[in-house]
Symmetry: C2
Subunit: 90 residues, 2 copies
């Protein structure tokens, strides 16, 4: 047995948190239902991911830039659907 290198744990963590938003985007696009989704969450999160991308450019950090550009896609999709939904949002 050898201990798991920290780098492996870090990449696994980054992969999980990055891909996690895709099942939500797929579900939201398929169902069109955003009632139990928080507008505040997606407004703050999408803004944060955009700032992370800008930060990635500013400090020339490729992994930070790429991971956040990937995450931006499903986050923006859910935010757009939430904003344009007909039912009252919060």
């Amino acid at each position: 047995m050898f201990p798991m290198p920290a780098e492996v744990v870090g990449y696994a963590a980054a992969s999980l948190t990055t891909i996690s938003f895709f099942p939500q985007a797929v579900k939201t696009l398929r169902s069109g239902d955003t009632r139990s989704i928080s507008l505040g969450m997606y407004a703050l999160f999408t803004s944060g991911v955009m700032l992370w991308s800008i930060y990635g450019v500013m400090v020339a950090d490729g992994p930070v830039l790429i991971a956040n550009l990937i995450t931006l896609i499903p986050a923006a999709v859910v935010l757009q659907r939430k904003i344009t939904a007909k039912h009252p949002s919060s």
Copy 2:
């Protein structure tokens, strides 16, 4: 005028993505409605945040550990509510 230091952008980004999950947890706890929330997203995201916390310990990175422990609270709350919800989940 002076350019915004990258560090300020990074901290602003980290703050936004960390606090963003709290409005969702509050909405979910208040309404009890998790129908349009993706189980896959919260299963993957909560696992990822737990791995990020372990990574923070392994590489002795305080900000990574603290930010992820804070994020773990609302993420786990939403995941728990989704899992225990009565309606069919996906």
